[in-house]
Amino acid sequence: MPDSNSAGSPEVGRPYRARGLWVNLVRLGVIGGFFLLWEIASGRWIEPFLISSPSRVFTSLIDNIQSGTLMEHSWVTFKEIGIGFPLGALSGIATGYLFGRSRTLAEIFEPIIMAIYGIPRTALAPLFIVWLGIGIWSKVGVVFLLTFFLNFFNTYAGMKQMDQEYIDLARLMGASKWKLTFRVIFPAVSPYILLGVKTSIPFAVIGAIVGEFIAATEGIGFFIRLSAGVFKTADVFVGIIVLMFMVIVMNKIADLVERRVLQWQTQTEHVQIQG
């Protein structure tokens, strides 16, 4: 097949930019096609109350924004994540750091933490409702729990992987404790810490929603469950859009932080493992 050379691998000679454009176009086509199919299928092949339709979802999104309902519920969920996520991440990172620094601490508490980790953590959500009531604090608790472990494990893994020679060198050069911690150890572990933060973002949202599903009077999870209960499928999708939006925004912020903090890394050195 002598002519298959020219037709077989068209990307090889193509400039990178043109290829990127091509990829984007195809992707847009796939997404557009999906929505189109959804719109056509709804009411013709599948009952609208099962899958709604893009146009219905859009209308109800506008309605819910105008009535202020969406804002109210989003704000509650945002508060739960906004409190639980940073607290969970920071305490997870701090615990991972302490375990990495103190062998004794790690020896005493590692089995305990592993045992707690073995419990499916969302199963603890009802318990949080019992302890902290049906307000936002029980959801903050669930978000905290889910975020804490992912951040803890990633940070601790980073501490264990860290090249001890950097610490030795810094100490030989007379680095103070503060300098050792913030100019050497945390930067060295930062790829792992950021990986933990990024993997925990969707779990923080899951935590809040699961809590709201179980018992709540407000929040996006509550809104979704309520809408599904009365077959307002379009509203369910509106809730899902809000959640997607939250995750995307948080990911974007994390990406910005990562790009700043890890600017010393070259592309190939990025940590590949998942926590």
């Binding site: 090249d163 950097y166 030989l172 100019r183 930067p187 060295a188 600017q263 010393w264 890394q265 070259t266």
Partner: protein, 296 residues
Amino acid sequence: MKQPAPESGSEPIAAAAHRPATSRNNVVIEVERVSKTFETPRQGKVVALEDITIDVSYGEFVTVVGPSGCGKSTLLRMIAGLTPLSAGKILYQGEPVRGLNTKVGYVPQESKLFPWLTLEENVGFGLDPRRYSRKEREDRTHNFIKLAGLEGFEKHYPSQLSGGMAKRASIIRALVYEPAVILMDEPFGPLDAQTRMILQDELLKIWEQKRQTIVFVTHDLVEAVALADRVAIVTHRPGRIKDILKVPMDRPRNIFEIHRQKGFDEAYGRLWNIFRHELKIRLDQGQSLDSQTLSR
């Protein structure tokens, strides 16, 4: 095994300033009958060093040569307090080394620049803000970067430097805060011949100005002779000090034409004789030879 001070003329000022009144005979480091045995779970015990004794005087440039795996790095790490001893003792300024010896600077075998700091942040890392003002820190850092020919790369990260540049940076990182003693572990090991000579030359120039005490590990016999006041020869496993040779060559030395300098051939010849003897023993024992030992 006490050796007289090197014939470097009058006592250098910088070195004299570091010397406490109580210290005897100019000696800054005393390694006395030190042994090191590594215990590994799989391979059992490895005797890395056995019965090592050597003194280093203030302002002296001592090189340590020996085949790969003979324990050179281990010796440096023990002087720095990074590795505990199995037997014997190491005194620094008359005091036993306990824990990390922060008085010494250490240039590890790999450059080990902090990858998350820029070149200038790396170089200035050891400058204590309690001792130097901000201005002083900046000036010093800048001067040494200039000295090492790294100008224009101040804001670069180590991943953006070549291996040789990183090496130079790791050397000036130890020089910049002027520790009384600097331990260097094959600092020019992986470099090409040209870069190597240039750096040897730079190092000697800096040292001639500051006269810090340097213990310099290498497996290159020419380098060992060219730089040193004294050369300590360590044998293959178990690592023992076979001999300590004085190198009575004038300073300043011209690294680029070191072969022509008076005294070089003689010193190199003596060193090679000892090495040849070692080599023969290892050949007779049927041990495998490191390629580097043969290529000399």
